[in-house]
Amino acid sequence: MASIKLEHLTKRFGKVVAVNDLNLEVRDGEFIALLGPSGCGKTTTLLMISGIYKPTEGNIYFDDVLVNEVAPKDRYVGLVFQSYALYPHMSVYNNIAFPLRLAKVPKKEIDRRVREVAKLTKIEDLLDRMPGQLSGGQQQRVALCRALVKEPEILLLDEPLSNLDARLRIETRAEIKRLQREVGITTILVTHDQVEAMTMAERVAVMHAGVLQQYGPPDELYDRPRNLFVASFIGDPPMNLVPVKFEKTDGTGRLVAQGFSLRLSEELTRLLSETGEEEFTLGIRPEDVALSQEETAEGFPGEVFLTEPLGGGTLVHFKFGETPFRVLAPKDLKIEIGDRFWIVPKQDKLHLFTADGLSVREKGHAEQG
C-alpha cells in the first residue's frame, strides 16, 4: 500500500485552472476523502493521480518516488468511475478479469482471483451476466471488483455512491468502509456529499475552485473550520452565518447584527480586539444554540418564523433582517410560530470569520492537517 504525496499540483485546461497549487499527503493505508462542490477540481486531481491526466505543474510521489512520467498501467491504481464504465460488450466475469488478462496472468490464477474478489463484494452469482442486466448497486460492485482484482496499491473512488438510491447508499457506505479496513489499501474517495466524506474517511480535504481549503480529521473540520467555505459546507443542518459588527464598550465586547446584539465572553472579546477589525461573520451551528423562555444577558430575543419537525428534534427558524437563523431545539419543547424566545448561543462554539473569510480562532495554522 503506497503513500501518496502531491506537491504544488496544478492542472490548467487552456485558461481554466482546474487544480491550483495542491499540496497533500496520504499515509500508507489511509482512507481520505476529497470533498467539494462540482467543478472544484477533485475529479481532476484523481485523474492526475491515476496517470490519465498529466499535471501542468507540480509533482506526484508514490512512496517518495516521482511518478509524473509513469503510465497509468504501471501505477498499480484501481479506479472506480462515477459511471462505473463497465465494458458493455463483456460479461461481468470478463470485465473483472480484463486487467489480469492484460497483465498476462495465467488462466487458473485469473479464475481464482476473480472469484475471490467477487466473494468479497458478494456478487459471485452475477459473474455470467452482462452489465446491461445489472442494477446500479450491482454495477458498482462489479466496478469495485475490477479495480481491486489486480491488487492495487492505491484505490481511487470517484463519487461511487451518487448514482445509488438513499437506502443503498447508506449500506454501501458501510460496505466500502469495511472493505477498505479489511484490505488495508490506501484509498482516496471523491465526493460532493459531506456526510459521505465525514462518515467514511479518516481525513477529509475540502476543495473549492481548485484550491485546498482545509485538510484534517472530520471532527477537526466540523469543530474548527478554518474558513467560511469549510464552515458553511460542512454540517447538516448548515451553520448559521450572520454578518456582525464588533463593538467594545467599557471592556465588554458585543456583536451587533441587524436585529440583535450579543454579549461576548472575555476570551472572545480579547481575540477580536486583537485583530483590530470591526466587521466579521458570525458562525454558530444550530445544535450549539439553546432556547430560553426567560430573559438572559447571554442571549438575545427572537420571534419564531417557521418550525421544521425533524423527528429527533425541531429545527426552529428565526429571521433577523434578511438573515435566517436556525436553532435545533429538543423534541419535547413546544414551539409555535410567533412564539418569542431568548436565543443563547454557546460562547465556546462561536466561530468568527474576518472579512476575507478566515477564522479568527484558527488563524496561524498550516494548511495541512
Binding site: 491515476s50 496517470g51 490519465i52 498501467k73 479506479l79 464504465a85 465494458y87 492484460l102 475490477r146 489486480k150
Partner: protein, 303 residues
C-alpha cells in the same frame, strides 16, 4: 360585418393539397427513377440500337452475353475490383478513422480528415487528371519519379501494365473517406470513461483498440461494408476516366461494360441487358442489408 363562412378543416388532410405538395417530387421520381427502372427491364429484351427503335428479341441479349468471351473476364474483374477496393475502403477507412480520432488530438484529426475528403469533393475529371499525372508513363509521372528515387527503376506504363491495381487504388483513395467519416463519428461517440478505465486496467493503445473500440464498432463496420459493396458494384466513372476499361478489357468492370455497350457502341438494348444483371445482384445485396439491419434501424443509422 359579414359573417365568415366556416369551412370545417379536419386535421387529417384532404387529398388534393397533399398531391400538390408532392407533385414535383412524384413527377421527378417517377420520370427519372421508376420509368427508367421499368424501361431498363423492357429494353433488356429488345435490340435497340442507334436507330432508337425497339424490337423485342426475347432472350437473345442474354444468350449473346453468356457466349461472350469477354463477359467472363469482366465478371472476374468486377469481383476482384469490388473485393480489393472494399478492403481498402473499409480497412483503410477504419485505420484513418482511428488515427484521426483516437491517436491524435481533435485539431490534427480535423486537418487530416479534411485532406482525405479532398478527393471525394473534387470533380471526377480533375481527380482523374491528377491520377493521370501520377501514373504518367514518362519519367515525369510522380509514381515513376518515386520508383526511380527508391529503386532506380525505369519508368513504367502503369495504366497499361497494372490496370486493375491502378483502378483499385484510384477508387480506394476516394472510397476510404466514406468509412473514415462514419467510423470517426462512431469512435467519438464512445464514452471516454471506457477508454480511461481500460488505461487504468493496463491496456496499451493497441489493446484498447482491439478490446474496447473495435467491438463497439460492429454495426458501423457492417453498415459500411454493405453500403460500400453496393456503391462499388455500381461505380464506373473513375475507371472510365483513368483507364477506360483498358487495355483490352483488362480493367473493365460490369457496370462500365454496360455503359460502353450502350453509349460507346450504341447497343442500348444489349447494354440494358448487361445492366439488369447488376440490378439483380444489387437487389440481393440490399435484401441482405435489410435483413441484417432491419428497416427501422437503417432509418436511424441514416440520420
Amino acid at each position: 360585418m359579414k359573417p365568415r363562412p366556416w369551412r370545417g378543416r379536419r386535421r387529417v388532410f384532404r387529398f388534393p393539397t397533399v398531391i400538390l405538395f408532392l407533385a414535383p417530387f412524384l413527377i421527378l421520381v417517377i420520370a427519372f427513377f421508376f420509368v427508367p427502372a421499368l424501361l431498363n427491364i423492357v429494353l433488356a429484351f429488345t435490340n435497340m440500337d442507334s436507330s432508337l427503335e425497339w424490337n423485342f428479341v426475347g432472350l437473345q441479349n442474354y444468350r449473346l452475353l453468356f457466349s461472350d468471351p469477354q463477359a467472363r473476364q469482366i465478371a472476374i474483374n468486377t469481383l476482384v475490383y469490388v473485393l480489393c477496393t472494399l478492403a481498402i475502403n473499409v480497412g483503410f477507412g477504419l485505420i484513418l478513422g482511428l488515427l484521426t480520432t483516437y491517436f491524435v488530438p481533435e485539431n490534427a484529426g480535423l486537418l487530416f480528415r479534411a485532406i482525405w475528403m479532398l478527393p471525394r469533393m473534387t470533380p471526377s475529371v480533375v481527380y482523374a487528371l491528377l491520377w493521370l499525372w501520377v501514373l504518367d508513363p514518362t519519367e515525369y509521372g510522380l509514381l515513376n519519379m518515386v520508383a526511380k528515387a527508391l529503386t532506380g527503376a525505369k519508368p513504367t506504363f502503369w495504366t497499361m501494365q497494372h490496370p486493375m491495381g491502378v483502378v483499385i487504388l484510384v477508387n480506394g483513395m476516394v472510397g476510404a473517406s466514406f468509412g473514415m467519416i462514419i467510423f470517426s463519428a462512431a469512435i467519438k461517440s464512445i464514452s471516454k470513461d471506457y477508454i480511461m478505465a481500460a488505461q487504468v486496467d493496463g491496456a496499451s493503445h493497441l489493446g484498447i483498440v482491439r478490446s474496447i473500440i473495435l467491438p463497439l464498432l460492429r454495426w458501423p463496420l457492417m453498415f459500411v461494408t454493405i453500403w460500400q459493396t453496393l456503391s462499388l458494384l455500381a461505380s464506373y466513372e473513375y475507371i472510365l476516366l483513368v483507364t477506360n476499361g483498358g487495355p483490352f478489357f483488362k480493367s473493365e468492370v460490369w457496370s462500365l461494360y454496360a455503359y460502353h455497350e450502350a453509349f460507346a457502341h450504341r447497343f442500348y438494348g444489349y447494354g440494358a441487358a448487361i445492366a439488369m444483371i447488376l440490378v439483380i445482384v444489387a437487389l440481393i445485396v440490399t435484401m441482405i442489408m435489410l435483413r441484417v439491419f432491419g428497416f427501422k434501424r437503417l432509418m436511424e443509422l441514416m440520420g
